[in-house]
Symmetry: C2
Subunit: 342 residues, 2 copies
């Protein structure tokens, strides 16, 4: 293991002061002779000198480091978000601390504190979707000494920049599409009990029905957590209804449903139509591919970074900014058009 080389050592070797070396290596406008400049640069390179960011952060009061908290890095969507965000940060010379909390507000809080004490210049938060006790977290976020941007989901009623897809719209678009394809008995499988986003998707589903005068039938609304087994369990009841189509409000929910369908020997879209959400992962595997509401994590990352960037630059108003992105309906082959046969 080599030793760390410091500014002072370089200075010593070239026979100049540390200040001069610092000035030159940072290309600061200063009056150091061309000759010495070259010498300094050469010696620094030869010794593999890299500035100690820690020391630099201390005096500069910025670390060019940002933090990200996601509920679960093992989820495809968050992993992708994290990947995109990291790349975007790096483009602007920021490093990104990616952390994964497990989803509880307590863990989120703990991680947030860790990030702050480690001197990140700002944090991206993907927190607050589940209904847990988030008072402490909320408190912490509102007193944060650095800018924060909430991504994909939000702690309700917290004044803070937000960037997210319109979940209500997603639910609406999915359902609306099914209606347009002639479906009238449309079930949905949502996580309304424990998730804000789930609630919104459900609201969109109901709005679409209401809009065309279809009844909102509680017997067609099913509850599922965002895990495959949970959806798998719930699916049996779904399939016992007379629904001709199902809106599966997340990728895992769709997967659980599909597994059950497969087991029961039901085919898509012959026996039942399905609109999924964020299902890109499964696309390769299924025939037909699933029609779905898609949210591009790259876009989310781009806008989130934009917000952060503004704050860091001191631009960006006193009031919180709120960016709402429209998801997209990607039509593939899992929905039967019932109108053709009329």
């Amino acid at each position: 293991m080599a030793n760390k080389v410091t500014l002072k050592q370089i200075a010593q070797e070239v026979g100049l002061s540390p200040s001069s070396v610092s000035l030159v290596l940072n290309n600061r406008p200063c009056r150091i002779s061309e000759e010495n400049r070259k010498l300094i640069k050469e010696v620094a390179a030869r010794n593999h000198y890299v500035p100690n960011q820690i020391a630099r952060s201390l005096v500069m009061r910025e670390s060019r480091t940002l933090g990200l908290i996601v509920p679960n890095i093992e989820s495809r969507f968050f992993a992708s978000l994290a990947g995109s965000l990291e790349k975007r940060c790096r483009e602007d010379g920021y490093a990104l601390f990616i952390t994964s909390s497990g989803g509880s507000a307590d863990d989120d809080l703990e991680l947030l504190r860790q990030l702050v004490t480690r001197g990140v210049d700002g944090v991206f938060l993907v927190v607050g979707d589940e209904f847990s006790d988030d008072r402490a977290l909320r408190e912490e976020v509102s007193h944060l000494p650095i800018p924060a941007v909430m991504v994909d989901r939000a702690i309700e009623g917290l004044e803070c920049d937000k960037v997210m897809f319109d979940h209500e719209m997603g639910g609406y678009m999915a359902t609306r599409y099914l209606i347009e394809q002639g479906h009238r008995r449309i079930a949905c499988l949502v996580n309304a009990r424990r998730s804000n986003t789930g609630r919104k998707r459900l609201a969109g589903y109901e709005r679409a029905l209401r809009e065309v005068g279809l009844p909102i039938d509680a017997r067609l609304e099913f509850e599922s957590e965002y895990y495959i087994p949970s959806a798998y369990e719930a699916s049996e009841a779904v399939l016992a209804t007379d629904a001709t189509a199902v809106f599966a409000s997340s990728d895992n929910i769709a997967l659980g449903l599909l597994k059950r369908l497969h087991e029961m020997g039901k085919s898509i879209p012959g026996d039942i139509s399905v609109v999924s959400y964020d299902n890109s992962a499964a696309d390769v595997l299924f025939e037909p591919a699933l029609t779905a509401i898609e949210q591009d994590p790259g876009i989310l990352a781009e806008h989130a970074f934009g917000c952060m960037s503004k704050r860091l630059a001191g631009r960006g108003g006193r009031r919180a900014e709120e960016v709402v992105l429209e998801p997209e309906l990607i039509v593939k082959g899992s929905v039967l058009n019932l109108t053709k046969h009329n």
Copy 2:
């Protein structure tokens, strides 16, 4: 945005010196009256004081932060590895910088430098599998001022702690199992051209064949990158052979193969048997589930952290440690037993 509170401010408020405050808050053995202790703690709490880790790192010469470089955080396996590793680090009070490189040696190098200048105490490297020009990276790693542990794969011939699964053994176990089930014409689909791990898996495949005196037939060895489309392309040729079984040497390779099989209307294991690698993701989706060689990323993380921990504690010999883990064959339903019919 609240302000950051410093040690000095606390000191001022309680009317004691910063040193005393530091001593008390860190529970250092020192002789500060019980009364003042209480006072200090109370004031610190009231002001939401959190120590500035940056300043602390500078003087303590450790940041209690580790770094991780993976080729692609969006891959399930790496995401899972990152998640496990992060949890493990946190248990010991370390934060983990997760970074994702894109897989080129240049990016790896850049990220490694970033991590080092940011003062991580050690790095986990998942690099060096592909055959790119890694001289600079190799150079950098061997002169690192902090401990490094290579995980899952390695830069060949570099003296450095390593923790990885035995890829040769994985290839061997998969093939051996197929042989035991009575298969004689066994194809394999590997990434031997651009991946060290791929080569090893291929070597294991060949060893198993040799061991029982089966011929090694180049016409049964197919090349595929670790991407679904690549495997999908390659699969047509595989299926044109007289093989009764295929060893698909990665999850994506298996998925590409399956897609092609599905399209051609071939069934598993009726028409052809398949042993996959790391396929846990797809498990939910397929009927029958795939028999596969599994590598638990959690175990990898555990051992990697163990190595790191030793180095950080100054234990761990002068020579590099090498941990080789055995993968596991998980038998499910994608392999037909040909011996039963004999």
